[in-house]
């Protein structure tokens, strides 16, 4: 069996974090979302993956190479124009022999979902419990027929289609024949006539908006690959599943609480508190007396001393002065022309921002890439930085 991963899209709703890469290359739990997918697919026994790349393709190709390091063979196919998922499927079918698993690259899904998909026969749709409405639609299996609906936008906790499915080549060609550019709609049209089985994933998260990153991260840390390669000084307390990358120094008096993943070449402490449910990317320095809980701190950040960051996303290459505060609160915000009710989220800071000392970022506020917040400023959900 083979697999096709679709990862050519830009991910405009996460544009603060996708200037240099497609959405699938955003790290959760210190590994790109695509990394989890590829590992899940290969662990299920599939050894050949067609990856449809486009936006930021070089970052994907450099990360996965020919697949040798992931114990599979990866073929790259190029979708340079953004022409939708049906077109991507058409491109991805090159070299597909018969049965395959189709995976949109922005899904975060439990890795044994792929094993389950392999177990059953052909024509299977993978479903999962949704945090909220998803573009793939709600799914119900009525009398052996899958029914996909898009009507109910208030779908918290309902069972949704994940976009992941196992089909064969002839069905794929049938999907392509149906008009439209979106796979979900094509399936909806087809669902009533084809006998699809529906299999539910243990956990699933569709990463679409900035606030999805935090919940995705804590989900990802369930698959935390524990390794302790760094240098840990005396009087460091470590509780729970903590992974520390090579070249990292944890300085004296620091308290680390798992699940927590710290990348390579970081310099943390002394006397900092990190975790739980936190990822710290490679090459990040965190100065003394800073507390970071329930956060994603991406690569190459400098976080000053006495900061308090909770439930927040800090993108790559950020510099935060000392005494910066970003803690969760509830807020209604306008994002891309839509109103969202954000609950229990800290700040979401895009790549390459500069945040001065004593700045306060209110919970639920979003900074796009390359924004600057001056010393002592208060920032509240008004977008700054490079436009969407």
């Amino acid at each position: 069996m083979q697999a096709i991963i679709l990862t050519a899209g830009e991910g405009a709703r996460l544009s603060g974090w996708t200037t240099n890469r497609p959405k699938g290359m955003i790290s959760l739990g210190n590994r790109p979302i695509l990394d989890y997918l590829v590992r899940g697919i290969t662990e299920s026994g599939i050894k050949e993956i067609n990856m449809v790349v486009g936006y930021g393709k070089n970052s994907v190709m450099s990360y996965f190479g020919d697949g040798t390091h992931f114990n599979c063979k990866i073929n790259y196919l190029f979708q340079d124009e953004r022409t939708g998922t049906i077109e991507a499927l058409k491109i991805g079918l090159d070299g597909i022999r018969d049965e395959f698993i189709l995976v949109p690259g922005d899904n975060f899904v439990s890795s044994n979902a792929f094993k389950n998909l392999r177990k059953f026969g052909t024509n299977i749709l993978l479903s999962g419990q949704a945090e909220r409405w998803s573009k793939w639609g709600e799914i119900e299996a009525i009398g052996g027929k899958a029914k996909i609906t898009f009507e109910n936008p208030d779908a918290y906790g309902r069972i949704h289609f994940t976009g992941i499915m196992k089909i064969n080549k002839s069905l794929a060609l049938r999907l392509i024949e149906l008009s439209g550019s979106h796979l979900g709609e094509a399936l909806q049209a087809l669902g009533s006539e084809y006998p699809f089985e529906v299999v539910k994933a243990d956990y699933w998260h569709n990463i679409v908006y900035p606030w999805d990153l935090i919940s995705g991260n804590s989900m990802a840390l369930r698959d935390n690959l524990i390794c302790k390669n760094g240098k840990i000084e005396a009087n460091v307390s470590i509780k729970g599943d903590v992974s520390i990358g090579k070249g990292t120094i944890i300085r004296s008096g620091t308290y680390l609480k798992g699940p927590l993943s710290i990348g390579d070449n970081c310099d943390i402490g002394p006397n900092s508190v990190i975790g739980s449910s936190t990822s710290i990317g490679d090459n990040t320095t965190i100065d003394a007396f800073t507390e970071i809980v329930d956060c994603i701190i991406m690569k190459n950040c400098d976080i000053g001393s006495y900061c308090s960051l909770k439930g927040s996303v800090i993108g790559e290459d950020n510099i935060l002065g000392s005494h910066c505060i970003a803690v969760p609160s509830n807020q209604n915000i306008m994002y891309l022309g839509q109103e969202f009710s954000i609950s229990n989220r800290g700040a979401m800071v895009g790549d390459g921002c500069r945040i001065g000392s004593r700045a306060v970022l209110e919970g639920g506020s979003i900074l796009l890439s390359n924004a600057t917040i001056g010393d002592g400023e208060f920032y509240n959900a008004v977008f700054q930085g490079d436009s969407i």
């Binding site: 240099n20 450099s62 996965f64 190479g65 070449n265 190459n300």
Partner: protein, 604 residues
């Protein structure tokens, strides 16, 4: 240069050596060949890349094979001059890497004795000589032959009466032995056999190795059996395919953020000075290297001098080794000179010789090298290992950046150690160095606009690169990259030297690439650009983000991300690499294998 592999064991040998050989093809691609033993020896060899030979390979059940890929030194590339070579009866097959300096004398003597030769290669004297001395024991025959030959070599020999045996020896050129389970391997490069085994023996010069499927014996130069040590090396999953990229060079250019990141670990966590044995007052530093590594060394000079106030000189290995003792270094023993050697492969003949010369003169030697366990790492006082992974494209890319990174790290630690920079500055520098991978990613993401600029150069007969201060070496590197893969004549100059000659060559048809970063030389380079523009020379300027003046004075402008000018060589190097790549791509040259060039220059 040239690659050798050998296998004896219980599996079909031909496929194994063929696959290993392909990993060495970057070392030479003039011709290739494989010798196997069926009922008698069968040799298949062919001019051109390995695929030419592969197409003609006969089916084989042999469990013994030696193979070779050649970069021509003596004799043109041809089927006859390809290895393996054999004697006139085809009882012995030999592969050889290196040169036999006195082969003409040996050949004349053998011809007088009635022996026949089939090629013009120096290597052919080896099988003839060995067969002359062969009395049933291959080790003894090789030992006797060694008494007559002069030169540098790695030799592997098989004989039709020994279905299970390979005998090998090295002198100055690389050879590694891989220990397997009921099978053994040999290769001129560890990467060729790492797929099969991690148990490696590094033989010393002139030790004769006898491999059979079940045993390994090592003989010293008096043919006494001696003990040997097996080392376990890190597992390395080789990536032989281009993974979506059109060329290895492009793949390697895009791998640079990762290469820098991987190499960082050893450089910053703890001060590496103790490990390098550098906890003493250094009076002067000499950096010695060839080619692209030399340019990395020149950048290192500017950085280390700025950070440590210790005088640094940079020399070509081929010049340093023959220069008068302690050239450019010197001084009292209490402030011993430090010699920093840079070699990607760790096998570069000239750099190796320079290391020996430096040690003889009492210098402390350290090497910046990318291949663990390579020869030079065994002969110097300290090693900084860059972790770029295998570089297959002949034009050096990722190793250049990791070499520069190692020199920056060395400079910071030496500066801190000598008191020229204080602790906050050290931390600041470390933080800046950690950010380089993301800075160069921004250039990589701009590759399309570099591609457009490249089209400005494709029709040029000659291109000049100019820069000042720390970016002068980048002008040299830019010119080197362009000429080696696109074959367009290119020269790098310090911008201030333009008036002293090269200005005479500039015209509307001779574009100039100028590097203008905002350091203390900025206003001067802007003046230089205006001088050139006044002569209607098209100028492509590399400037920092938001530099309106540079945009105004030049015809085209490429912006690198905001970065301290001292660290600007990193993004600029990436620009130069991509520019050359796209020029060569448009011209349709063999980018991964430029004509006449090969990697790991293990001959002088």
């Amino acid at each position: 240069m040239c690659g050798i592999v050998g296998y004896t064991g219980n599996k079909q040998a031909q496929g194994i050596v063929l696959e290993s050989l392909k990993k060495l093809e970057y070392r030479g691609y003039d011709s290739s060949g494989i010798a196997t033993r069926e009922d008698k020896l069968v040799i298949c060899k062919k001019e051109g890349p390995i695929v030419n030979m592969e197409a003609e390979l006969p089916k084989s059940d042999s469990t013994l094979a030696i193979a070779h890929t050649r970069w021509a030194t003596h004799g043109v590339p041809s089927d006859a001059n390809a290895h393996p070579h054999s004697d006139s009866e085809n009882t012995i097959a030999v592969v050889h890497n290196g040169t036999i300096d006195n082969y003409l004398t040996i050949k004349e003597n053998l011809e007088k004795e009635g022996y026949k030769f089939k090629s013009s290669s120096d290597s052919e004297v080896l099988p003839v000589l060995i067969s002359k001395y062969y009395k049933g024991d291959l080790v003894q025959a090789l030992h006797k032959s060694l008494g007559e030959i002069e030169g540098i070599f790695t030799i592997a020999v098989i004989h039709q009466d020994h279905p299970d045996e390979i005998v090998a020896v090295r002198n100055e050129t690389p050879l590694v032995i891989g220990v397997g389970n009921s099978e053994n391997y040999l290769a001129s490069d560890i990467y060729a056999i790492l797929k099969y085994t991690q148990q490696i023996i590094y033989p010393l010069d002139n030790q004769i190795i006898k491999l059979t499927s079940k045993s390994i014996e090592v003989f010293d130069d008096k043919l006494n059996v001696i003990d040997y040590e097996t080392e376990e090396v890190e597992k390395y999953t080789e990536v032989s395919e281009k993974g979506g990229f059109e060329h290895f060079m492009l793949k390697e250019i895009f791998e640079q953020p990762k290469a820098l990141q991987d190499s960082l670990t050893e450089l910053l966590t703890d001060s590496p000075l103790e490990k390098l044995g550098l906890n003493w007052k250094i009076g002067s530093i000499s950096i010695v290297a060839c080619g692209t590594s030399y340019h990395a060394g020149l950048v290192g000079k500017y950085v280390i001098e700025q950070l440590t106030a210790i005088p640094v000189s940079v020399s070509y290995s081929s010049e340093f080794r023959y220069a008068a003792p302690v050239q450019g270094v010197g001084g009292l023993l209490s402030s011993r000179p430090l010699v920093v050697l840079i070699s990607q492969s760790g096998e570069t003949a000239d750099t190796l010789a320079a290391a020996r010369a430096a040690r003889q003169q009492g210098c402390h030697t350290i090497v910046i090298c990318n291949v663990p366990g390579s020869r030079i790492t065994r002969e110097v006082d300290g090693v900084i290992l860059t972790k770029s992974g295998q570089e297959i494209g002949v034009a050096a890319t990722k190793t250049f950046l990791t070499q520069m990174q190692a020199l920056y790290a060395l400079g910071i630690h030496l500066g801190f150690n000598s008191g020229s920079i204080d602790y906050p500055q050290l931390k600041l520098w470390e933080s800046e160095i950690r950010k380089i991978p993301s800075k160069i990613s921004q250039v990589l993401n701009n590759s399309e606009s570099i591609r457009e600029l490249a089209s400005q150069l494709v029709n040029s007969k000659s291109v000049f690169f100019v820069g000042r201060n720390i970016n002068y070496p980048l002008a040299l590197e830019g010119a080197l990259k362009l000429k080696e893969i696109s074959y367009i004549h290119a020269e790098g100059y310090p911008a201030g030297e333009l008036k002293h000659g090269p200005l005479a060559l500039l015209s509307e048809e001779t574009p100039v690439i100028a590097i203008a970063v905002q350091d203390h030389t900025y206003s001067k380079i802007i003046t230089n650009i205006e001088e050139m523009s006044a002569r209607k020379t098209p100028v492509i300027t590399i400037a920092q983000k938001g530099d309106e003046l540079a945009k105004k004075v030049s015809d085209f402008c490429f912006e690198i991300p905001e970065i301290d000018p001292v660290l600007s060589p990193f993004p600029i190097a990436v620009f130069m690499q991509l520019l050359s790549y796209y020029v060569a791509h448009e011209l349709g040259t063999e980018i991964d294998r430029p004509r006449n060039l090969a990697k790991s220059v293990s001959v002088e």
